[in-house]
Symmetry: D2
Subunit: 147 residues, 4 copies
């Protein structure tokens, strides 16, 4: 995936496998979360900062396609980028590959909204305009790079 903002390397753990001998499909949501948190950190919006601002961004939807399996010992590369942001819903895209190969073993998206601790929608472009700005830069930059 060209235009990726964040590349995370991550080994598949033994406790993530199931009796089919492969990583259980629920773990991919953990890996996506790990990569997303690093991505936000690199953008300057670490979880701790958002929390201090009183902004939560729960997951509203996910979509995953499992193209190949992976197992204990495989070294995963999880790439994250911004797909869209309409000021309410932020959609991130993920591609996972293994052992330095080009093949994508999983393609996924996650949708996020922004809430205050009482659960009300936060107008993030007013509350944290520099966040909206950064996110929009990501979309533009990727727009140029991605095939």
């Amino acid at each position: 995936m060209k235009g990726a903002e964040q590349k995370m390397l991550r080994k598949v753990q033994y406790y993530e496998t199931d009796r089919m001998g492969i990583a259980h499909h629920a773990n991919y949501l953990h890996w996506m979360e790990e990569a997303r948190i690093l991505f936000m950190e690199e953008l300057g919006f670490a979880y701790e900062r958002m929390e201090a601002e009183g902004i939560l961004s729960p997951v509203r939807a996910v979509q995953l396609e499992y193209l190949q399996s992976c197992t204990f010992g495989d070294l995963l590369t999880v790439e994250v980028r911004v797909l869209s942001f309409d000021k309410v819903v932020l959609r991130l895209g993920y591609t996972i590959s293994k052992n330095g190969q080009d093949d994508c073993i999983c393609r996924a998206t996650s949708d996020h909204v922004f809430l205050d601790p009482e659960g009300h929608f936060v107008r993030i472009h007013r509350r944290l305009p520099e966040f909206t700005e950064k996110i929009e830069q990501c979309i533009h930059k990727q727009g140029r790079d991605v095939c």
Copy 2:
């Protein structure tokens, strides 16, 4: 959801919550799996039987929409039904509600293919015609009931 083939009741466990105070979104894939396994069992195709026949049915794709959260102590109802089956991909639909309320807290689908232990596609309608038959009955029956 009318036309559901299987209703599973399931308490949210303490260890399934995260520090936002709600069940972590990855657990929903566990609950879907639990409900799917019961559903297949009721159709007469328990996991053990499929395994004995040498047929695996890994997850190829999932989609989840998280509409409301749930937490420790909530009693979930997970309903499963067959959405489609084109002889290659079986798509199941899920709705999750909590504490006997009508509101759906999560809507989801999962796609499955049928493989032999070497990872080759199995022509399930030839290998296990009674499976295809049963699954098609589920679609038809649901076709009549669902709004």
Copy 3:
């Protein structure tokens, strides 16, 4: 185990297995937690009540002996009882068996203390004397029954 206060039945889930084909050893702590929460509920001290009283009881120590394995589809019986309570540390004992067999597949203990939300020790026998009373009754009752 004679003298058990609580017997919980629980199927091993597919997602709890690992590539050795058996339930991964970390899941036993989940099962112990599930059984402990039910046990406390039956004693009249459901988690919700303790939380409302402002009393947390984190795990201070655990010990597990894995005697036999179990796997997907096995029906577990998890039994809990009070081993000791010195007004500071509550020690619970667990035995896990499978599929109605007498053999114990796991023997375990967990130690718990009682804290307020600031993390200070709560003198539980003063704050909630009926709790101490109930717990002591469990020890005595078991004292008579257990071999």
Copy 4:
């Protein structure tokens, strides 16, 4: 812990927290497993090699003392060393600390046996004498260093 053979650094993940706001106590068994696998790898006995030799080493017992909690974002140091090996049971010791502090937040042990794929005990000092040798060296080396 002086005499440690292996030091692993590992961030606590968001999905590892529970609604008490801290890492759930079952995850420590995952971290111990991660560190143990790295330790064995460094000794020259990677999981893959043992598997190729047809030797499994399931967990027979664990003991954990939770001294302090940790949470999302904490950087853990997990140290492993050999406590004892009587040719049947290998006992490993673990200490976990966080954020570069000296305080130990968790002290633990795990016991392992060596089995063939049929589940029979393997005389590891005959089957893989270089393993026994390495392990014994670890004990001696530590013997000199540890307070």
